[in-house]
Amino acid sequence: MSVLHIMVLIPFAFALLVPFLYKMFTPRIHTGWFVLLVPLTIFLYLLRYVPVISQGRTIQIHVPWMPSFGINYSTYIDGLSLIFGLLISGIGALVILYSIYYLSKHREALHNFYVYILLFMGAMLGVVFSDNVMVLYVFWELTSISSFLLIAYWYQRERSRYGAQKSMLITIFGGLAMLAGLIMLSMITDTYSIREMISQIELIHSHAFFLPAMFLILIGAFTKSAQFPFSIWLPDAMEAPTPISAYLHSATMVKAGIYLVARFTPVFGGTAEWFWLVSAAGIITLLYGSINAVKQTDLKALLAFSTISQLGLIMSLFGLGSAALYFGAGDDSSMYAVATLAAIFHLINHSTFKGSLFMVVGIIDHETGTRDIRRLGGLINLMPISFTLTLIGSFSMAGLPPFNGFLSKEMFFTAVLNASNMSVFNMESLGILVPVIAWIASVFTFIYCMILVFKTFFGKYKPDKLDKIAHEPPIGMLISPAVLASLVILIFFFPNVLSDYLLKPAVAAVLPSLAQGSLIDIKISAWHGFNAELFMTIGVVLLGSVLYVTLKKWKGIYRYYPETLTLNHFYNNFLEGGEGVSRSLTNRYMTGYIRDYLIYIFGFLIIMVGGSLLSLNAIAYNPANDAPITLYEWALIIAMVIVALTIVLSRSRLTAIIALGGLGYLVSMLFVVFRAPDLALTQLVVETVTTALFLLCFYHLPKYFKGNGRVPFKPLNLVISVGVGAVVALFALSADGNRLFEPIAGYYENSYELAGARNIVNAILVDFRGIDTMLEIFVLCIAALGVYLLIKFEMKGRE
């Protein structure tokens, strides 16, 4: 157990404390202040790794967990996981600080909120720091679950529940697909460690499971990162409180899928399938998200679609960058490695500007009571600080200088232009599509960024449409977005500091073959002269401005898109249809009659036991070893059959009960024959008491067979019971015919030496298996309590 392991586990441990802290200090101190310590500690701790990792070193620590299954809680830090760790803890700290002002300590269920958010934080750290795929999977699903809980935080709202369920269904579906893919990988490589998988790339690439495993793992990544067509859950996830939207649904959790793609690029990268799947999914998502964002009227929905679009951008960059692995080390590969560098760079940039934008939108919502663009406007004079922050975030997202988004957007254009000149993977014919789509999507990105700024803060202030009088929020609420916004600007001016310390080690982690050859030698700079990228950006700004100004004229075309073709429509229909089908199917066999259920049970007994006897050729009949049988035993057995038949055939309850008693006594006589004195004695006693009990109870129970007094007969019951009898008899015969193992009873025959008892059966009960017997007594006590309570207490509390 290292400190790093403890860092991953701290959020979980602290989550246990939160309810107590909440109880003790509310409403004096906001619970968030305590929780804030957790991400701060982790962030400061992780900062210590930055110098180590920037020298190109990686750290791996093993802690055996279930070594016999190959499952170890191994942590692994390289550039990639360090960036994610810093984002999770850093933005986590800012979000918690923001939430202290956002969530009222008087009205909200803060303990729930902070337990969930800590759960998420720990799970997310677990995902990025585990080397073992099984551990990674468990943490992965835990992030889905905590996301579900957080989206449904205001569970009284119907939309929240709908959004939570949707995100849960889609991400868990993807998680299970990913699990299957991970299991395939571990079957190929015979290890659960990602490091060891990467060392066996040739084996994986030549295996028949290569494509299925890749496909399944990508489904996991695409569902989590809201890639088209799995993107539909993200807009509905915006029902969560805004700090959560900023944290989970833009900065961290949705990037888990991107992390997975980056992490498995060394395994799958360099192949045409991976290149195309990842790039195409990313590019399509980029276009889909940006086009849809323009038509939104809710600010958070706009940001949700813009997040989808930006995630697509990062995803496509990782896809394009994976081509570098095809070329191995050399100039060609470092040309494509620009894409990977841009991906990681944009990942950080996106977290900064989108995080601050979400927080500002939360502020607007908080201070005006609405997020509807149609009701907002003219806030610039009332909320100047919020305006500045929005301006920084939006312009960065639009790719304008002097903000960090400009740098990564330029690199994105470089990457798509490089890719279009590629001569492998069929890029000769289709390559030109990539920069074209990227450019169109960027135009739409520019438009929605302008909507965000100008529709909210310019135009006419409409106080009559707002629930509250707009004003600046408390200063504490502005700290977090201000920190992020200042990062947006700082990164623009000092990109290479970030690049040297964090980005390059991360690129080395994603493209390991590159790191072994020449170190990645890319300088990020704002000015490259008048090149194609710059002209693309200028084009985006020009066309984007024209389209923004004329927005009203062409916005109507969105209405032509038929509602029935949307993914949401398909999802809702699928869910409703599925519910209907499963309900009618369930109603068909869940009749509510005990007899029907018993028939299923006995039917399955016949099919399973009889079927496996048949299919395993287990039926054996070997009368040679049979013990001899005496006349007395014959008499006993025949008497038992007669008595048992009497129970079922008699019309009087009394006869049946007496016959059951008789059967019990006959069984105890058989025990005598079989040299089991203890059993015979016990059976005699128990049978006597049972019969007495039956006689006591039957007095209170109604008569059998009302009406004609005849014993009713049901053919199906007879068939099933004869079937059960036949299968059990066959089973008994076969068990006797197949004696495969030596009995273990010889051990217990030393009972005098081992337990000091001459009665072996008793020694087994009270000594060798003493705890069993104790639990048996426990069962008796429970039954006795049940009997006592059922007789003694009338149902008083019912009315």
Partner: protein
């Protein structure tokens, strides 16, 4: 002996199952008792019959019958006694509250 015992166990199971599938609560309880007799005998012959003397040290027997099934059955007898008792009292109570011992009429509420 084993063959005959296997058939006897089959007969006990068949009769017990038939009883359990009927509607009357009392007959269902009778059925479970019959089945538990069948189960006990089944476990017993698994260990082989008449392979030696009773499992008591100190008697002049050279070999013993298998003691393990006997220990298991001893437990089973007591547990089945407990469940039978609980079941009986439950049916008594159910009859008093619901006014019927017919399982077909004992169906639950709308939300089952």
């Amino acid at each position: 002996m084993e063959t005959i015992m296997s058939i006897l166990i089959g007969v006990l199971f068949a009769i017990g199952t038939y009883l359990v599938l009927t509607k009357s609560l009392l007959r269902i309880i009778l059925g479970t008792s019959v089945i538990s007799h069948g189960v006990n005998l089944l476990i017993l012959i698994m260990g082989g019959v008449k392979t030696g003397g009773p499992p008591l040290l100190g008697l002049d027997a050279l070999s013993f019958t298998d003691a393990l099934p006997q220990a298991l059955i001893l437990t089973a007898i007591v547990i089945s006694f407990a469940t039978t008792a609980l079941f009986l009292v439950l049916s008594y109570r159910a009859y008093k509250v619901l006014g019927t011992d017919d399982t077909e009429q004992m169906r639950g509420n709308e939300n089952e």
